[in-house]
């Protein structure tokens, strides 16, 4: 495989990760601004990338910028806001086909890099701040996004559960902040927040794709070095605090199907052990939960477990008939007890490892997945490659999993159900 990986320091608090792979026909550049999740900044940070990505000083309207991007073979400037442990990540990305694949060999990479950097550092302004009308629309869109969280009931239930699981912790703040905070945003405040973000956030630039010329790469370095910067404060995600008693929360809505989310916390610091525990328990279509809750008892269509290694939290979520909330919960408890007693086969563990290692190899096959891998890694003390991670997974034993299962502390059971159904207790 002809992949090259490089990590370079741009300046204090800003790093550049480059993954070049000639198999790809595209180039992606991700600029991530990372700050500790903080309620007072959360909503402003959520609206900023939306204000940056569809105009800039040179192309001041969505129409002008979209037309320019269309002429560059459907190049895209997109944006996002996400959570990574206790961090809020504000992202701006460009995607374009490599120069080699344009119809007449047109050179478009340089222009795409310029547009991306202009969106980040030279936004369209009026009277020294974001254009008021643009701001009004983007703020409304943020409010709509917050309100629309109820549209996807599974996501809504997991989000509500997380607010309870991480109560009082940065990770418990919704990624878009709270409606009441978003309502109070003003254009001037958000512009001020934008300048602070550029000055104080940790910056991670990740390039993934066919490759761009040195000149274009140097532009990225020069423009980021030219920013007025403070050294970002040292900050690390900490494991979620355990509760003394399990918390039960029920929300009611006009729904056809109930959703249940269960969370457990652990002291186990081996990410790979917990990952394998989750695979064995509910992370695959041959896991204990899939085999029993879905296949044997026909209680649900989905019932997977997932592990958040940054917060050391194991999460299980399922969609069930209203009257099956208790039977499903009992069976999940039952399977967990079996896991704690080691009542699962070595074969289940080795098959789980096989699947995990297979997905690690596949990380290299898409520019997006390899870029995400390294963004995730840059938050860790030691950066490991997918191959190194596979070796660590291979070393996990059944005994490790049983010990880790016995370290699990019940934390939260969240249920979203119909208006007339019994409470969750």
């Amino acid at each position: 495989m002809s992949v090259s990986y490089k990590r370079e320091k741009i300046c204090e608090g800003a790093e550049y990760t480059e993954i070049i792979d000639k198999r790809f026909k595209t180039n992606y550049i991700y600029i991530h601004l990372l700050e500790p999740m903080d309620r007072k900044n959360a909503s402003a940070n959520a609206v900023i990338p939306d204000l940056l990505h569809d105009s800039n000083e040179k192309y001041p309207t969505i129409t002008a910028l979209s037309r320019k991007l269309a002429s560059l073979y459907h190049a895209s400037i997109s944006c996002g806001v996400s959570k990574l442990g206790d961090f809020q990540v504000v992202s701006l990305m460009s995607g374009s086909i490599a120069d080699k694949y344009t119809i007449d060999g047109d050179n478009i990479s340089g222009e795409v890099v310029d547009i991306l950097l202009d969106c980040l550092t030279k936004p369209h302004l009026e009277n020294g701040i974001f254009a008021e009308n643009d701001f009004r629309l983007k703020k409304q869109e943020l409010l709509d996004d917050i309100d629309a969280e109820i549209n996807d009931k599974r996501k809504f239930a997991v989000g509500k559960a997380k607010e309870n699981i991480y109560k009082g912790e940065p990770a418990g703040i919704p990624v878009n902040g709270y409606r009441e905070d978003a309502e109070k945003l003003t254009c001037a405040d958000v512009y001020k927040r934008y300048t602070e973000l550029l000055k104080n956030a940790r910056i991670e630039v990740v390039f993934s794709g066919y490759g761009i010329g040195d000149e274009d790469k140097n532009k990225i370095f020069d423009r980021i070095r030219a920013l007025e910067r403070n050294a970002p404060a040292e900050y690390k995600t900490v494991p979620s605090a355990k509760k003394s008693d399990m918390v039960y929360v029920t929300d009611r809505m006009d729904v056809n199907q109930s959703k249940m989310v269960m969370a457990y916390k652990t002291d186990c610091t081996s990410k790979q052990t917990m990952k394998m525990l989750s695979f064995v328990f509910g992370g695959t279509p041959f896991s204990m939960l899939f085999e029993n809750v879905r296949e044997k008892l026909s209680l649900c269509y989905y019932c997977p477990s997932g592990y958040n290694s940054k917060k050391q939290v194991l999460l299980i979520d399922c969609g069930i008939e209203h009257q099956n909330i208790n039977p499903a919960r009992e069976e999940i408890y039952n399977q967990l007890e079996l896991l704690k007693k080691g009542e699962f086969t070595e074969e289940l563990l080795s098959n789980s490892k096989l699947l995990a290692k297979s997905s690690l190899k596949a990380v290299y096959d898409s520019p997006g997945s390899i870029a995400n891998w390294y963004l995730d890694q840059c938050m860790e003390d030691n950066i490991v490659t997918p191959e190194e991670e596979a070796q660590l997974i291979d070393a996990v034993t059944k005994e490790d999993i049983v010990a880790a299962a016995n370290s699990l502390v019940p934390d939260t059971v969240y249920v979203l159900t119909g208006k007339e159904n019994p409470a969750n207790e």
């Binding site: 002809s2 269309a70 459907h74 009931k153 269509y301």
Partner: protein
């Protein structure tokens, strides 16, 4: 065995199509250096195929709605074990899906490709249904159906289809209803299986760093030749008119969600692909971010970034659809119809057209990055009697006149249907 190389000089890419003596068409795209291999084994059988006849039947039979999807679930269980258990031993990640006109079984893997291919070919050719296993699935699929019943995007779309089509079975929910699936029996599943899972009606599509000769050797060994069942399917006559111009329902959503479709006649093969390319370009020119019209809707706060367009097409159906969130969907629908009429009279701007064409071409190239995208594209196009490069060639050759003619032919505003999901007041 007939072997054909399908080549794109434009992309410097090629793949092989083999007409296997069993009747199966096999597509193989060798992707050197990729870790992942993606394989799909599919049949031209979906939720719309509810009435059919083979040479063994005296008359046409009509089966319960949702049976194609039910069959997909049940095929995963063979006499001795679950197919997921078999994939677990190779590290492959298996799955399947049923659409309106296709059912595909697939896996992705990074190791043990040949063993996983054997599993795929074996289980899809060996149905095993009993009263007990069929009954067990009703709970699982029942929960899948209820999950979709709570999904407003799904509901707004199926309500649209109900208001567009009088008789076309495309309006039926792919999974059926809890009531229709209660009539499914092992006998009916076998009847559908032997009618549609005939190798002459199927395609195998593989993309990855694979050895073509080994694939053929496995196919020679495992494919079970079957007699031509002289399958006939019928679609009820569908009037040109729409059922109702407006349909609305209330659900737990924050902002109204809408789908606006214009009923068109169904097309087939290359003609359908050409219409898809041109209709996509019409919608791009009408209402993509590059258009003044999008800007007007956006600036007036009538649409937000969820606004999107799609061409809904397949066996027996073709319809352009606009959709998204809006506080005033009826106003948006009225303005879109007015803009369609204006563009019919005034035509499109040539420069905008050239940019739209480049953008569309660029998006097709971007879609050729991963084994899963490529294998899926090959199976879809092969089932429609096309090649994986036809769309790119049509897009490169399309003219402004083609697109303007398509606008006139395919966007009849008297056949517009608006589906709205309102928030519960």
């Amino acid at each position: 065995m007939n072997k054909k190389i399908i080549e794109s000089k434009r992309l410097d890419e090629k793949y092989t199509v083999i007409e296997h003596p069993s009747g199966l068409r096999i597509c193989i795209w060798k992707m050197e250096g990729y870790s992942t291999t993606h394989a799909l084994f599919g049949t031209k059988y979906g939720s719309v195929n509810t009435t059919f006849k083979t040479k063994k039947d005296k008359d046409f039979i009509t089966v319960p709605n949702g049976i194609a999807h039910y069959l997909e679930h049940k095929l995963f269980e063979n006499e001795d074990c679950d197919v997921f258990q078999l994939y677990a031993q190779t590290g492959a990640s298996g799955n399947a899906y049923t659409s309106f006109d296709r059912t595909c079984y697939l896996f992705s893997c990074t190791d043990n490709f040949e063993k996983s291919l054997e599993i795929l070919l074996d289980f899809v050719q060996k149905p095993y249904f009993t009263e007990e296993t069929v009954a067990k699935e009703q709970g699982i699929i029942g929960q899948e159906i209820k999950m979709y019943d709570d999904n407003p995007d799904w509901c707004v779309f199926f309500n649209l289809l109900e208001a567009v089509y009088f008789n076309n079975p495309v309006k039926i929910n792919i999974a059926g209803t809890v009531e229709t699936i209660s009539h499914i029996t092992p006998e009916l599943l076998y009847q559908c299986y032997y009618a549609f899972y005939n190798l002459q009606n199927m395609v195998l599509s593989i993309a990855g760093d694979v050895d073509e000769d080994k694939i053929i050797e496995i196919c020679d060994r495992l494919l079970i030749p079957n007699e031509d069942m002289e399958l006939q399917t019928v679609f009820p006559d569908e009037p040109d008119e729409i059922v109702a111009p407006l349909v609305r329902k209330s659900m737990e959503v924050a902002v109204p969600i809408f789908n606006l479709g214009y009923k068109c006649a169904a097309l087939e093969g290359r003609e359908m692909l050409k219409a898809e390319v041109e209709t996509n370009l019409v919608m791009y020119l009408l209402a993509e971010k590059t258009s003044d019209f999008y800007r007007k809707l956006y600036d007036e706060g009538l649409i937000n970034s969820t606004f999107s367009t799609e061409v809904f097409s397949g066996e027996g159906f073709f319809m352009p659809i606009f959709g998204g969130e809006s506080r005033d969907p009826e106003k948006v629908a009225e303005l879109i119809s007015a803009e369609i009429e204006r563009c019919k009279k005034e035509g499109f701007d040539r420069e905008q057209f050239e940019n739209a064409k480049k953008a569309y071409y660029g998006s097709l190239v971007k879609d050729l990055n991963s084994p899963s995208d490529i294998a899926t594209n090959m199976i879809n196009k092969t089932m429609s009697g096309l090649t994986a490069f036809d769309e790119l060639e049509i897009a490169a050759a399309v003219t402004l006149e083609d697109v303007e003619n398509r606008l006139k032919a395919q966007f009849d505003t008297s056949r517009g249907v608006l589906s709205i999901i309102d928030p519960i007041s």
